[in-house]
Symmetry: C2
Subunit: 410 residues, 2 copies
């Protein structure tokens, strides 16, 4: 008979450790140039504005409320600010359409918990955000591939595959803007197409908009939720569930994100929030609200200016350093460039070699594939790259790829 710590592994083995976590440790080694962590640059945080916000909160009459329990749906003035923010990006809504979560990662966990029973089908792009796969996989779904650009799958072919696997079509998930990891953005036609598919399948569409505010060039695209609201006449009839976060715009360490959706969805998420951690920290919600009021627009403009340059440095270096047969995306925003290596090269093996021989790091692409494919892809983050690191790091990467190609062919 197994002892209990072994038996519980039956359920816990669904939970897989992120390779990224191990990779982040590499950042601590000063001679490594890392394109691995998809994290914002701490030097660009509005630290002084945060210092002022926490100082005012804790010195005033509101200190008690900031340190006390609060309501599960979140701090009302922050939800009011967010309702205005959503209206500005084309989603007319009220604070009743918003629940505060601990980062958008928590929203993904709750949405998996809400929609997925074991064997149900979740549609995800290929590649897709690793953290979404981690959150959803705890609820034991089957994955099928969402192809926003079109492809030859009909709604009934999806439905038949889901039923053949013993479950039902449960939901679709995607990142329409500057996706993590691919860096790609869906055009309006693709957004319409995904919404058509979800409508025909009668399933919710989870729109992960983590990077929405970080557009450096190209034409701004409407949120899928905005298109959905136009079509249905109002958010409370929309099937799109929009997940936002302050992690990429103000700071991730406070863990403040939000979901904007139809009221029946929000009310279920509020119950989940209550059962899972009561509410997000009161003090952080108040602080984020103050900082957003004080500097959201100018601060995100400053971030765009900085990250824009970093993207360009890395793209220029890739054009210069990469051998023939290597291709990559040209993101209009966000933090990521997705590199496809010639078939036969393995991103994980390349990372091992890259760290050992050239002291450069990135994330192998396989972990972003629900189907276990993508071995010949890697993700580069440019969010921490200054001009020198971009040039030198990509030059190192170019040498590693060339050596691997030489090894593979010679």
């Amino acid at each position: 008979m197994q002892s209990w710590p072994d038996r519980y592994a039956r359920r816990a083995n669904r939970m897989q450790a992120s390779e990224i976590r191990e990779l982040l440790k590499l950042l601590d080694q000063p001679d490594i140039i890392s394109f691995a962590g998809g994290i914002p640059d701490a030097k660009l945080f509005p630290s002084e504005v945060f210092a002022e916000a926490y100082g005012e909160i804790l010195s005033g009459e509101g200190a008690g409320a900031a340190l006390q329990y609060s309501v599960s749906e979140g701090y009302l003035p922050l939800r009011e600010w967010l309702a205005e923010h959503m209206a500005q990006i084309g989603v007319p809504c009220s604070p009743a359409n918003i629940v505060i979560t601990s980062g958008s990662q928590q929203a993904l966990d709750y949405l998996g918990k809400l929609f997925l029973s074991p064997g149900d089908t979740a549609l995800v792009t290929r590649p897709t955000y690793l953290g979404a796969l981690q959150a959803f996989s705890a609820y034991e779904p089957r994955y099928d591939q969402l192809v926003p650009e079109g492809g030859n799958r009909t709604p009934s072919s999806y439905r038949q595959a889901a039923e053949a696997a013993g479950g039902r079509m449960a939901m679709a998930y995607l990142t329409p803007d500057f996706s993590n990891p691919s860096g790609e953005t869906l055009n309006r036609a693709a957004r319409e197409r995904v919404l058509d598919l979800c409508t025909e399948l009668d399933i919710p569409l989870i729109e992960d908009s983590a990077y929405q505010a970080l557009r450096y060039d190209g034409e701004a695209m409407p949120a899928i939720l905005a298109i959905d609201c136009e079509r249905t006449g109002g958010i409370d009839d929309a099937r799109t569930i929009y997940c936002g976060t302050f992690s990429k715009t103000l700071a991730p360490g406070l863990r403040v994100g939000w979901v904007c959706a139809a009221r029946p969805v929000i009310s279920k998420l509020v119950l989940m929030k209550q059962a899972s951690d009561l509410h997000s920290p009161s003090i952080n919600q108040i602080a984020i609200h103050r900082v957003a009021q004080a500097c959201y627009e100018p601060h995100t403009a400053m971030l765009r200016e900085n990250y824009h340059k970093r993207r360009d440095w890395v793209l220029e270096a890739l054009a210069k350093e990469m051998p023939a047969g290597v291709s990559w995306t040209k993101p209009e925003g966000g933090m990521f460039i997705w590199v496809t290596l010639p078939e036969g090269l393995d991103g994980a093996a390349l990372l091992e070699r890259a760290v050992k021989t050239e002291r450069v790091a990135f994330v192998p692409g396989k972990a972003f594939h629900a189907d276990g494919g993508g071995a010949n892809t890697i993700r580069l983050s440019f969010s921490l790259a200054d001009e020198k690191a971009a040039k030198e790091g990509v030059a190192r990467l170019g040498r590693v790829v060339k050596a691997a190609l030489g090894g593979a062919t010679g």
Copy 2:
């Protein structure tokens, strides 16, 4: 065909709204004397120490790290502080035995997610903490009654009942010190007995120690995890999983709690943490660590002095005001007194009458019963009661009970 917002209700209907949440709104009405909310008194928070902590964190070189992503297991210096704290209460352990959670509510959610498959049996006391039932119920367990004092249930009778229901024995949960809602504390023999039972059933035992630091009199009892470590020779062989929190000692609004357990359990919880919200807010963990270092002992001593008096005021008033046939617990700590009314009286109906006629509030006991019983019980919290409110509030409550008894008999 149902639309998708109706269909998802299939899963979401497990999540039930807490009556407590509605009741908390009553606190806003100034003429209500409320014994409802089980919340600490905001006037007793160490607000100035928190102000200093946040100020230092955000003005120093560490500001970037406090606002940045951090590791899922939690801030190492805080886990080191907690390992020492656990050693002081009889649990020798290392930081590797500790994971930081967003309050102990989140620990209960993760433990439900880890151990419970639909139909599995969770043992809980009668009554038990409402928030635990909310967290566990999302994973669709069957509940059976844990009777720490003894009773006539054998391990095999539990096992047979679990198997007859189509699941397995999965875990036991209890609050050994000054339980929410009963206020009762298990003696050493009862702790040993529960551990014996869990050992015979080969299941994990979840020890919810939210109120452990708030003992006002009586003899301190060892944590069940401490007894387990003595028996097994070390925490990594223990089956007891200890859930702690700073919510009742320093402040709940930061949402910082912890789990202390065997390393194989902690490593699974760290994966859950990563998949569900990446990590608890970096800045709050650093702030709690600073405040705990600065004032944990003297601050909790001050809290004990204050809450001790409040408990006594309410107990004295109950002895004076309650009619024959009403009984209540005499807690040695914590925040709650559990009142049993004569059979036939209904706590929920009594609350309606109490708010309407006497402007006094409490929580009906039914929600704390996994089996739907306990209609004739109510929970009183004394944490917010000053001397006048205790006397006047309990006098009002006495009149309501007497009127209800009169109505019931006459």
